[in-house]
């Protein structure tokens, strides 16, 4: 069972307090009507699903109800850190670059 730190509550808590909310930083097409079906399908359905480090979202449903970003390893389940979505995004984009 994971132990997740909520960056808002600043507390490390058991996974049962949180709800997994999928891959983080999926970009919704700015003007959906301008992309083709395949691009839209990619946005709605396709996922990175990496074997390794994964940027994902968790919601503190039994706490502050905030959604935040977690960088977690999908094999070791190690958590590198958790950030507000805005703070995490900067790091995420740095990594992608």
């Amino acid at each position: 069972m994971l132990v997740i730190t909520c960056p808002y509550c600043q507390e490390a808590r058991e996974e049962e307090e949180f709800s997994y909310a999928g891959e983080a930083y999926i970009a919704r097409p700015a003007v959906p009507e301008e992309v083709d079906d395949a691009t839209w399908g990619d946005y709605v359905f396709h996922r990175k699903n990496p074997r390794g480090w994964h940027w994902e979202q968790w919601q503190h449903v039994a706490g502050c109800r905030k959604v935040f970003a977690v960088k977690r390893h999908t094999v070791s389940y190690e958590i590198a850190g958790s950030w507000t979505l805005a703070d995490g995004k900067a790091l995420y984009e740095e990594e992608q670059a």
């Binding site: 069972m1 709800s19 079906d37 399908g41 996922r47 699903n49 070791s76 389940y77």
Partner: protein
């Protein structure tokens, strides 16, 4: 078959102290070039190779397995087999598989212990019962056997189940597929391996694919931990690791890999004679021939390739089983484990060509892949052999995630196992 199994072979070999048995499958060194490479030596991959050789005459085939044969989900599932899917496309695909199961032991000359003790899906709410009626009628019209049962009929078949109103979610009825059942999971991999090997397929264990060799939009071969192996056609059947292979080809798949856990009790005398599943309280149970209760837990919410999940999931499942079977409270869990399931958005598989010519994927079986093993291998072999999907799997292409033509077994609240 040089080494045919029968009662006679047991007697003959018994008299020779079992020293004359031949290897069930051969373990050759990989060749440089094959007609087809199958990546993944689980049940689906081995079945694909078997049917390529048997039905399409393509025998220059290698199955590459990074660990040991059948060591992934084939070794980790709860062995449930059924075909009572709601949507036509899914029902036809799984029914094709079920028909193959019905002759599989004889076809392979390997007793996979397919046991048609039926599969029961119990309902706890009025909406559950509507869904059960809908699915049963759809099944019957698709040629899939289905019966709707009253609580008393359930009780007559499964005496230990609690149909009283004392439970938190009283049981209101069930659908039942008599031809469904369970099989000996490991035997399926071994049986297909033996059958394929006999037909000339090279089965290569401890051979991890580390890259795909693609030139000009065509697959040329694979890089492996045992060197490069070339082939013009490569079929990937790697379940939870499919996204990892796809990435090697620069593809993304509509998949998420999650831990799925299961556990068994200690071995007991026969006490439950069919498979009982409940979507609403979320637990399902059958009893193996060895006497263990085999229990499937819920899927862990997060991505995970670790073949282990969180214990609260198992705890909840134990509670669900006790909700249906209060007397199992004093039974003990012997062993628990986890697998990696590749879940697609509509809970249906992807059996598809890709934009790389000669590269095929068979994945996305989610929590329900075991039951499809022969059917999956059969249609995937056709897809690879003809570079064109079998009519039964044409609806299961990657295109559907662009066109919106999903086959939504999730949305239909069908049991996803």
């Amino acid at each position: 078959m040089a080494n045919r199994y029968s009662l006679w072979s047991l007697i003959k070999n018994g008299l020779k102290h079992h020293e004359s048995w031949q290897p069930a499958w051969k373990s050759p060194q990989p060749k440089k070039q094959y007609d087809v490479i199958i990546v993944g030596g689980g049940g689906h991959g081995l079945a694909t190779a078997y049917y390529l050789a048997k039905e399409h005459g393509i025998k220059n085939v290698a199955v590459l397995e990074k660990g040991y044969l059948g060591g992934g989900n084939t070794a980790r599932n709860t062995t449930i087999i059924r075909s009572n899917y709601l949507w036509d496309e899914a029902a036809h695909l799984y029914e094709h598989g079920l028909k193959l199961w019905e002759g599989l032991s004889q076809d392979l000359n390997f007793n996979v212990m397919f046991s048609q003790r039926g599969v029961m899906n119990v309902g706890h709410t009025l909406q559950d019962m509507r869904d059960i009626e809908r699915r049963a009628n759809a099944n019957l019209l698709n040629g899939v056997d289905a019966v709707v049962m009253t609580p008393q009929e359930i009780k007559d078949m499964v005496p230990l189940i609690d149909i009283s109103h004392r439970t938190r979610y009283p049981i209101m009825g069930a659908s039942f597929q008599p031809r469904g059942g369970v099989a000996r999971h490991d035997a399926v991999a071994w049986g297909f391996a033996r059958g394929a090997s006999e037909l000339g397929v090279d089965i290569i264990e401890q051979c991890e694919v580390t890259g795909l060799i693609i030139e000009g939009g065509r697959i040329k071969g694979v890089n492996t931990s045992r060197g490069d192996i070339m082939a013009d056609r490569v079929g990937c059947v790697a379940a939870g690791n499919s996204s990892v292979l796809a990435k090697m080809a620069g593809l993304r798949l509509p998949l998420e890999s999650h831990p799925l856990q299961a556990f068994v009790s200690e071995s007991m005398k026969p006490c439950i004679d069919t498979v009982v599943m409940s979507n609403a309280v979320h637990g399902y149970v059958s009893q193996s021939d060895k006497g263990e209760l085999v229990i499937g837990a819920g899927i862990d919410s997060y991505l995970g390739y670790g073949q282990r999940g969180s214990p609260h999931v198992i705890e909840h499942t134990a509670a669900a089983i006790i909700e249906m079977f209060p007397s199992f409270s004093r039974v003990r869990m012997n062993r628990q484990w986890g697998g990696i399931v590749d879940v697609s958005p509509d809970a249906c598989p992807i059996i598809s060509k890709t934009r790389i010519k000669g590269l095929y994927f068979n994945c996305g079986w989610g929590t329900g892949g075991f039951k499809a093993t022969p059917g999956s291998g059969n249609v995937f072999a056709h897809t690879i052999a003809h570079d064109d999907p079998h009519p039964l799997n044409s609806a299961f292409s990657l295109d559907r995630f662009a066109t919106g033509h999903l086959i939504d077994e999730h949305g239909a609240a069908a049991v996803a196992h």
